[in-house]
C-alpha cells in the first residue's frame, strides 16, 4: 500500500486555528454527544406519550399513535432532516420562516429535533411492546384498586414496562448517537463531519477515520457499561433478569 501514514498529524495545528487536529475531533465528539443527548430527551418524552397512546383504551388515541409511528418510520432520516431544515421554514408564515433560517446553530437544533422525532417512533414501539408484555391482570388490578387510568399508568404499568424495555432502549440510545452522523448533510460538524473535514484539510484519510472509529467505539463501550449497571440496579425481582 503506497499510502503515507502520519500518526503525528493529530498533534499538528489545524487550519481553523482552533488547536490541533485532535482538538477538532474532540470538539466533534462533544457536539455528537450534545446533539444525541437533546435528541434522546425529545425521543423519550414524545415516544413515551405516543407509546402510551397506542395502549390506551381509546380508538382515537390508538389511531393517532399508529399514524404517528408510521409517519416517522417510513421516511429515511436524511429526508426528514431535509424537510425540517429546507422545507419547514418555507411552509411557515414569512416572519417565522425567516426567524428559523437566521437562527444561530440551526444545524444543531434541526439535527436534535429531526433525530429526536425519528427516534421517538422507535421508542413508542418499544414502550408499546413493553406495556403489552405485562400480564392483563396488572391493568385490571390497578382498576380494581380504584386507580384512575393516569394513576394506573403512573404507578403500575409504566414503572414495570420501562424496566422491561431497558435493554432495547439502550440500543435505541446507541442508534440515536449513531444517527446524529446523518446531520453531516445539513452541515453539522459532529464527529464524522470533523473527521471528514480533517481528511479534506490534511489528506490523512485513514488516520482521521480511524480516530473517529475509535471514539465511536469508546462511546459505545461507555454507554453499554453504564446501562448494564442501570439494568442491574432497577431489575425487577422475580424476572429472569431480576435479582
Amino acid at each position: 500500500m503506497n499510502y503515507n501514514w502520519n500518526w503525528g498529524i493529530f498533534f499538528q495545528p489545524n487550519p481553523m486555528g482552533t488547536g490541533t487536529y485532535l482538538d477538532m475531533l474532540l470538539s466533534g465528539l462533544a457536539l455528537t454527544l450534545k446533539t444525541a443527548a437533546l435528541a434522546w430527551i425529545i425521543a423519550l418524552i414524545t415516544g413515551s406519550i405516543v407509546g402510551v397512546m397506542r395502549t390506551l383504551p381509546s380508538k382515537g388515541a390508538n389511531w393517532f399513535g399508529f399514524l404517528y409511528v408510521e409517519f416517522f418510520r417510513n421516511m429515511p432520516l436524511l429526508v426528514q432532516l431535509f424537510l425540517w431544515f429546507f422545507v419547514l421554514p418555507e411552509l411557515l408564515p414569512k416572519g417565522a420562516g425567516t426567524w428559523l433560517k437566521q437562527l444561530p446553530n440551526a444545524p444543531f437544533w434541526t439535527a436534535a429535533i429531526g433525530v429526536g422525532f425519528f427516534m421517538s417512533a422507535r421508542v413508542a414501539v418499544q414502550l408499546q411492546a413493553g406495556i403489552s408484555s405485562l400480564p392483563r391482570g396488572q391493568r385490571m388490578a390497578a382498576t380494581a384498586l380504584g386507580l384512575t387510568t393516569v394513576q394506573g399508568y403512573r404507578y403500575v404499568l409504566l414503572p414495570m414496562a420501562f424496566r422491561i424495555i431497558l435493554p432495547p432502549l439502550t440500543s435505541e440510545f446507541l442508534n440515536t448517537i449513531k444517527n446524529t452522523a446523518v446531520a453531516i448533510t445539513i452541515g453539522l460538524l459532529e464527529l464524522t463531519g470533523q473527521a471528514r473535514s480533517m481528511q479534506e484539510f490534511s489528506f490523512q484519510v485513514f488516520e482521521a477515520f480511524t480516530a473517529a472509529t475509535i471514539l465511536y467505539l469508546l462511546v459505545n463501550a461507555v454507554v453499554v457499561t453504564a446501562m448494564r449497571f442501570l439494568e442491574r440496579w432497577v431489575a425487577i425481582p422475580g424476572y429472569i433478569t431480576g435479582k
Partner: protein, 230 residues
C-alpha cells in the same frame, strides 16, 4: 408558503428521478440485500459453528459494524476500496472503483452484520431435534444446514428480513454524502438546479413514504399468513 407550489417542476423531473435515481436506489437495495443475506448467513453460521476462534471473529465483526454510524462506514469504504483493489490485483496505484460498486460493497458489508443477527435468531429458533434427526439420517453438517435448518430459518425470519430490507432501502439515501445520483440525490440535484427545494424534497418524502408503507403493509400480511406453523 404553498401558494406558489410548482407541480410542473416535479412532472418535468419525473423521468430523470425514476430512470436514473430510483433505478440506482432499487438496484442497490436489491443487490445489497442479497449480498448482505449471503454474507450475513455465513457470519451467523460461523458464530454458531462451535469453533471458538471462528465464532469470535464473526462476533467482533458484527459488534464492530453495529457500533459505527453508516455515514462513517460509507466514507471508510469509499476511501478504502481503491486500496484493497490495488492490493488484490497487485496494481501499482490505487484502482478507481465506480460509485455504484463502492456503495454496493459498503452496504453488503454493513448490512451483513444486521442480517447475521436475524439469521442467527432464525437458526436458533429451530428445535434441537431437527439437526439431531438430520444427523441420524446420515446427513453431513453442510447437508443439514442446506436442506433442513437454513430453509426453515429463512422462512421463519422472512418478515424480519424484509423489514430490514425496508430499512436498507431508506438507508441507501445516505449515499447522498458521496454526491451519488440515487433517488434522493437526483431529487436534490433538480432541487438545487431549479431552486425548488420545497417541491422536490416533499415529493421525495412522499415517494419514500409510499414505497415503505406498501412494503411494510405487505410484511404485515405475510406475517399473518405464515405465523404459527408449529
Amino acid at each position: 408558503m404553498l401558494g406558489n407550489f410548482d407541480f410542473d417542476v416535479i412532472r418535468r423531473a419525473l423521468p430523470y428521478l425514476f430512470y436514473e435515481g430510483m433505478t440506482f436506489t432499487l438496484t442497490l437495495t436489491g443487490l445489497a440485500a442479497l449480498g448482505g443475506l449471503i454474507f450475513g448467513t455465513a457470519l451467523a453460521l460461523m458464530r454458531l459453528s462451535g469453533l471458538k476462534l471462528l465464532g469470535r471473529i464473526a462476533g467482533i465483526y458484527v459488534d464492530f459494524m453495529r457500533s459505527l454510524p453508516l455515514v462513517l462506514v460509507i466514507f471508510w469504504f469509499y476511501f478504502l476500496v481503491p486500496y484493497i483493489g490495488q492490493w488484490l490485483t497487485g496494481a501499482s496505484r490505487p484502482i478507481s472503483v465506480g460509485a455504484f460498486a463502492s456503495s454496493l460493497i459498503t452496504f453488503i458489508m454493513f448490512e451483513a452484520a444486521y442480517f447475521s443477527e436475524i439469521m442467527r435468531a432464525g437458526i436458533q429458533s429451530i428445535s434441537r431435534g431437527q439437526p439431531a434427526a438430520a444427523s441420524a439420517l446420515g446427513l453431513t453438517y453442510a447437508q443439514t444446514m442446506r436442506y433442513v435448518v437454513l430453509p426453515q430459518a429463512f422462512r421463519n425470519m422472512l418478515p424480519v428480513l424484509i423489514t430490514q430490507t425496508i430499512v436498507l432501502f431508506q438507508d441507501t439515501s445516505l449515499v447522498y454524502v458521496l454526491s451519488i445520483t440515487d433517488f434522493l440525490g437526483a431529487a436534490s440535484k433538480v432541487a438545487q438546479r431549479d431552486g425548488r427545494l420545497v417541491e422536490m424534497y416533499l415529493f421525495a418524502a412522499v415517494v419514500y413514504f409510499t414505497i415503505s408503507c406498501i412494503a411494510s403493509f405487505g410484511v404485515r400480511r405475510l406475517q399473518a399468513r405464515i405465523a404459527i406453523i408449529r
